[in-house]
């Protein structure tokens, strides 16, 4: 009986055999690129890192046998699976998506709809649900290979992933995970926004965010607008906001009596100033005013200080800070209205996810309406209050 038991338990070892795959037979995909196909319906561009060229490779062979550091073949097919299968003719390796940190979709594919890519990735067992999603107008093969580098020399898709993983604070990056994008598409309580990246002169840069209506990209907001959007949406801080300040005492160039006789130091109070917002409190007031009619007030209260970037020799008075707060409030109100006008009226996109607050008001009505169609008709107002507590020096 004991032997039978031991034999039965040995079955456990079989799992290793089933999933066993030597490292040299695997192609480790760090980033997945999706594009429209040139000859077939879709193209997948895997960003494959060559382990032979890795810094961790301690058994360095002859350079001639090492191959390129990154491979980014363009695999085309009628479906994504078909594209991967067809790729085996050129690259007889198992595409291993276990380390995939980001999914980059070309802009032209994104304008046709990204749901098939999101859906495939989410249900692909090895792709992590917390991979980042982003859109690019640049050529994906160039973006993933040595043609794209950072200052210190990191290259390929890793640039994108490492930046997103390490930089969780920047308001200017509309980070979105695969599962978040998928959820937003399904529940329609807002619109999908993803980082918009491009390759300029061999450098990868973030250029605002791509905005979607349903699953189709309909436009873009620039970096400043993205930062404003993220600050309101997820209360992301620190947030740097630059606006023009007109001093109540007229500003201008005044000579400080203590500096008389010294070099003519500038003392411009009226100038562009950068506010470092430290705390943001955002509340949505959503009311149902009729069948499928809602009114929305978004209240944004924030505290901040003048950033280090401002000229330190300028001495602001308490009155100056109060006036600065009022002017920052007005400027931010203007910017938020302009952003809302652009996204709501021109793109029909609910970038502030107001739908999340409308949905629970009357769930049956919500289920009977298409929020993406109703949202452009909803009046949205902003109530902004900026308090400037002082200067950081």
């Amino acid at each position: 009986m004991g032997r039978i038991l031991v034999l039965c338990l040995l079955v456990g070892i079989l799992t290793g055999c089933y999933d066993q795959s030597p490292i040299e037979r695997r192609a480790l995909v760090m980033v997945i690129g999706f594009d429209k196909g040139e000859e077939k319906a879709v193209a997948i561009i895997p960003d494959i890192h060559n382990p032979k060229q890795s810094d961790a490779n301690t058994q360095v062979g002859p350079q001639a046998t090492a191959g390129p550091a990154i491979l980014a073949p363009r695999l085309e097919g009628d479906t994504i699976e078909d594209a991967i299968e067809s790729g085996k003719k050129r690259l007889p390796r198992i595409l291993d998506f276990g380390l995939t940190g980001a999914i980059v979709i070309s802009e032209r594919a994104a304008r046709d709809g990204i749901f098939p890519f999101l859906s495939w990735s989410l249900f692909q067992p090895t792709v992590r649900n917390n991979a980042f999603v982003m859109v690019t107008p640049s050529d994906l093969q160039s973006l993933f290979t040595e043609k794209a580098k950072t200052v210190e020399g990191t290259q390929g898709g890793n640039v994108i992933v490492s930046q997103l993983v390490s930089d969780t604070k920047s308001a200017g990056i509309a980070r979105v995970h695969l599962w978040e994008a998928y959820r937003t598409y399904l529940d329609r309580t807002g619109c999908i926004t993803t980082p918009y990246i491009r390759l300029v002169d061999g450098k990868v840069s973030y250029d605002g965010a791509a905005v979607f209506h349903y699953d189709k990209m309909v436009g873009r907001v620039d970096s400043k607008e993205t930062a404003l959007m993220m600050m309101v949406l997820v209360e992301r801080t620190p947030y740097l906001y630059t606006f023009h300040f007109d001093s109540p005492d007229g500003g201008g160039q005044k000579t400080d009596p203590q500096t008389k006789g010294q070099a003519n130091r500038r003392n411009d109070k009226s100038s562009n100033v950068t506010l470092r917002v430290q705390t943001v409190k955002r509340t949505y007031q959503v009311e149902r005013v009729g069948p499928k009619q809602y009114s929305v007030i978004i209240k944004v209260d924030m505290d901040g200080m003048l950033s280090d970037a401002n000229p330190p020799q300028v001495r602001y008075s308490t009155e100056d800070f109060e006036a600065m707060g009022e002017q920052a409030t007005e400027a931010m109100h203007r910017d938020l209205e302009a952003l809302m006008n652009k996204t709501q009226k021109q793109m029909g996109a609910d970038v502030f996810h107001i739908g999340r607050y409308v949905r629970p008001i009357d769930i049956e009505e919500w289920r009977s309406m298409d929020w993406h169609e109703v949202f452009p008709t909803i009046p949205v107002e902003f109530e902004v209050k900026v308090r400037i507590l002082g200067a950081t020096r």
Binding site: L5, V11, G12, T15, N130, D187, R356
Partner: protein, 372 residues
Amino acid sequence: MYKEEISMIQIGLLMASFFVSGAGLYYHGYLLQTVNYNPFAPLFSGAVIALIPTVLASLICAKFPRDNIIGIARQLLGRPVGILITAPLVFIHFALPLPIFRIAAELITDVHLTNTPPIVLMLILLTISSWIALMGTEVVTRTNDEHLVIIFPLTAIMFFLSTSDIDPNLARPLTQFDFSYWMRPEFYGSLSVFFGFGLALFLNDAISHSQKLYRILIGLTFLGLLYLLVTLYLIIGTLGMEMASSFDQPLKVKMTTLREMVFFQRVDILLILLWMFPTITAMSGLIVTGARAVGQWLHLENYRTVVLAYFITALALRSSVEPFQNARNFLMYLSPLWGGLMTLLLLLFLILSVMKKRYALSQKEPRRRNNG
């Protein structure tokens, strides 16, 4: 009949394993498919329904200390009827591990061993579970204790880490209800997560404090409800109702949204694998109680041969649950049967025991009068 001793706490921990395993594997999948919004209503309704047989089980255990459901049935109904009436319950104890292990195998295949056929993983889980059952009730309960010591702190850490993704608005509305769940078989299928107390009915003869068992059975049902509530909130607060209801195992999907921590690249997999521990011991509990019951019927000195016979039979029947949907549907229809059968049996036993007591009293009364 069998000289085994387990404590009340161990019964409670076996019930806890039922909750942890059920929440990870199938409960939320069923629950979220029963309504279009507000899944908290079916959760609380299910708990209230499950509380009825739990209270009945507490009463029966207290009424018949040091006896289990097999002995109680024999005592109240005689041997042949007793066997006949408890046989379906024993069958359910033997049948449940198959679909649950198949569902667990799907989870492992989904997140970790993607190329391994789920049936292989299912058989491995079945083998381990049967092996533990082979060593007896006390080993099952002790193994379960040790597993839970590992599971609870890790689960708490994982849940804490995943709170940052939650948006309470996605869990709303809380005051509008979709009562269509009463008509959905998934709702009744989900109830099996509450039926861990059934083990106590079979192991009551090994517990020395049957009169106090109600504290554990009812207390654990409330704790289990709390665990299900927390996990449900984590799921819909993160994934939203629309997304969560599109998965059979939404808690798994929720856990895969965890961000990587320090050197753990796939920390979510760790938790998912940890769910296998309580699943194995909970199923061992079902197998061992089924085997004990058969041993009692056949007056076997050692019920281990029954476990072996079960293992071989289960191997032969594995193909019946090989397609995932078969396993899911099998569990869905077996669960209400399990709960319903337990409720009916417990009610019957309670009525019979009261009637017997009255009959015994009425027999004594005339004698006293005659004597007087």
